[in-house]
């Protein structure tokens, strides 16, 4: 860890510390709304980071990450609502369940040589299959949804994630920061280099003695477990869960846009992407409201056009370009 830190340029260190302190101090000046947007940004930075580990480093395109968000959310919420088990404990169960599902998807895909677009479809199919299953299970509330009861007496129990906006902001900040540290460590680890080798040329990697199957499986497991933690956050932040919402393919897409726009396979890409896209979306809501346009799709249309423009003009994402401007070339391996 310390070695990693020493490896950074002084300017990069100053920027990271400055940015982090700024975020730590943000609640002093930000109002509730700004804080909620920042929370959303940090949440997307975290889950985007999780997805990026699998796609950006190991090169496995998953379009079904909503599966792991949903599983994490449901497992922790069910443990809390039905059995009174707090999220500090439930998060481990959530990780375990999501990793088990990730293992099944990964095994099916990698064992049977399902690659590229086909693997992506496999992940979509797994997520959609689970969505419909949850829609029809009465134990989880079915399509009617699962609701966390509002218990005023529990407010302030931060270890049970019961609290206000400020609590969730700092939890999201901790998650996002933890995600960055984890990604930075993994990307410089033996496993991280194995992922890169498999991403670039699997045959070559295998001929060097890398167990490609094992490398890809660990990528799925780490990514799914990490995403499930995001799911636990999601459940306790929003207090209601609908299979049609959490498992929806739109959630999967939303989750991966940040890292793609920010820069795949870079540590700061998912963070930058989240900081660009989420305020853009929120700003568009505010703008259309200000202009008095009462069209529910207007914001999303512009959002879609922005995406097309970004992928057309900056296919490698914003971060590598931004890093060059700031003079901090991240060693993109």
């Amino acid at each position: 860890m310390i070695e990693l830190w020493r490896g950074l340029q002084p300017r990069a260190r100053a920027l990271i510390v400055g940015f982090f302190v700024l975020l730590l101090a943000a609640p002093l000046v930000a109002d509730r709304y700004v804080l909620s947007v920042l929370t959303l940004i940090l949440y997307f930075a975290f889950v985007g980071q999780a997805w990026n580990l699998m796609m950006g480093y190991a090169g496995q395109l998953s379009l079904g990450h909503a599966l792991y968000v949903g599983l994490g959310a449901y497992v922790a919420a069910l443990l809390w609502v039905r059995f009174g088990v707090g999220p500090w404990l439930g998060v481990f169960a959530a990780i375990a369940v999501a990793m088990a599902f990730g293992a099944v998807v990964g095994w099916l895909g990698f064992r049977f040589g399902v690659e590229g677009v086909y693997f992506a479809l496999l992940t979509i199919a797994a997520a959609e299959f689970t969505r419909i299953a949850f829609d029809n299970m009465s134990f989880t509330g079915g399509s009617g949804g699962l609701f966390m009861p509002y218990e005023p007496g529990r407010l302030g129990q931060w270890w049970n994630l019961r609290g206000g906006q400020l609590l969730f902001y700092y939890v999201a900040l901790a998650l996002a920061a933890g995600g960055v540290v984890l990604a930075a460590r993994l990307s410089r680890s033996r496993l991280g280099y194995q992922w890169l080798a498999v991403r670039e040329d699997e045959t070559a990697a295998r001929s060097l003695g890398i167990d490609a199957f094992r490398a890809k499986m660990t990528a799925v497991l780490v990514s799914s477990g990490m995403t499930a933690v995001g799911g636990v956050f999601y459940a306790f932040y929003y207090n209601n869960l609908f299979p049609g919402q959490v498992f929806d393919i739109q959630r999967s897409i939303e989750l991966i846009l940040g890292p793609i726009v920010g820069g795949l396979g870079t540590v700061f890409g998912p963070v930058v992407g989240a900081f660009v896209l989420t305020p853009l979306g929120e700003g568009l809501i505010a703008l259309t409201a200000r202009l008095g346009i009462d069209a529910p799709g207007a914001k999303a249309v512009f959002y879609g056009l922005t995406l097309i423009a970004i992928i057309y003009l900056r296919p490698n994402g914003i971060w590598p370009w931004l890093a060059r401007i700031l003079g901090l070339e991240e060693r993109t391996p």
């Binding site: 590229g116 992506a120 419909i132």
Partner: protein
């Protein structure tokens, strides 16, 4: 007596499946030749549904006739889209193509939402509830008509790829891109024609779909997934495979909706997709690459 009920369900599923198959055929042609994943496929189908719906409401034009001009218009749109936007992405990595077309899909989906609102719009054809009695079976008229139309379009397309010079040239691009370029084929233009044909298929299928289902924006992503399932199950690049896959999915949806629960019908399609991906990744009629 019960067997005839099941048989009726199966026949309805086959007929609906043929229209699904036509939609998937468009995806298969685009993916098989241009090698671009059209993630906006279902959204285009819904645009065609709304076009057919509007033509029927305003001009009284029957969707079974309107599918022709709609398919022609979609060809132009597809040609233009490939020529301007997508050609730049040919050969680029999958996730870049994916995000481009997701952007297109988001724009279409929400454009429809702005124009028509989220509610389903029934076309209310005068003969929507007519049916033919064949022996003990009662088959919806609209399903028979649209299935016949879908088959006819597929036959025309098959003849086009088999017997015309431009169809042969497109197949050459799919088989051996370098070879096609070496012998002087204008690959970019042929790609644009192919994308146009793919969209013409989905345009026609969407117009025919109006006779069976009510147009609603949120059908878009569902149809995109449906088209993908069919193409994978049937076998990528196999035109007959797309139709067979369509029929298979149509029947399995109809039976699952009838026997178990309508809300669970697509679960079986996804299970089938997973099984095919794992056990026979080239699809039922596809050849191993």
């Amino acid at each position: 007596m019960t067997w005839s009920i099941y048989l009726g369900v199966v026949v309805q599923g086959v007929l609906t499946g043929l229209v699904y198959g036509l939609m998937a055929l468009g995806l298969s042609v685009i993916f098989g030749v241009v090698r671009v994943v059209n993630f906006a496929h279902g959204e285009f189908a819904v645009v065609a549904m709304y076009a057919a719906f509007l033509l029927f409401r305003s001009l009284g034009l029957d969707p079974l006739i309107a599918f022709l001009p709609i398919a022609a218009a979609f060809f132009v749109v597809g040609f233009a889209l490939q020529a301007t936007l997508i050609n730049a992405f040919v050969g680029r990595s999958e996730h870049e193509q994916f995000i481009l077309l997701v952007g297109v899909a988001i724009v279409i989906l929400n454009g429809l939402l702005m124009l028509f609102g989220p509610d389903a719009q029934p076309a209310n054809l005068p003969y929507a509830f007519d049916s033919y009695a064949i022996g003990p079976l009662f088959i919806d008229k609209v399903r028979i008509y649209s299935a016949v139309a879908a088959l006819a379009i597929a036959a025309v397309l098959f003849a086009f790829f088999r017997y015309t010079a431009i169809g042969t040239a497109i197949r050459a691009c799919a088989d051996n891109l370098t070879g096609a370029a070496v012998v002087g084929l204008n690959v970019k233009r042929l790609y644009a024609v192919t994308f146009g044909i793919g969209l013409a298929c989905v345009g026609a299928a969407g117009a025919l779909m109006v006779t069976i289902a009510d147009a609603a924006p949120n059908l878009g992503p569902a149809y995109t997934l449906l088209a993908f399932i069919i193409v994978i199950v049937g076998g990528l690049g196999s035109m007959a495979g797309a139709l067979v896959g369509g029929v298979l999915i149509g029947v399995s949806e109809a039976l699952a909706g009838f026997i178990i629960q309508p809300s669970m019908k697509s679960m079986f399609s996804f299970a089938l997709l997973i099984a095919v991906l794992v056990l026979r990744p080239q699809g039922l009629l596809g050849r191993r690459a």
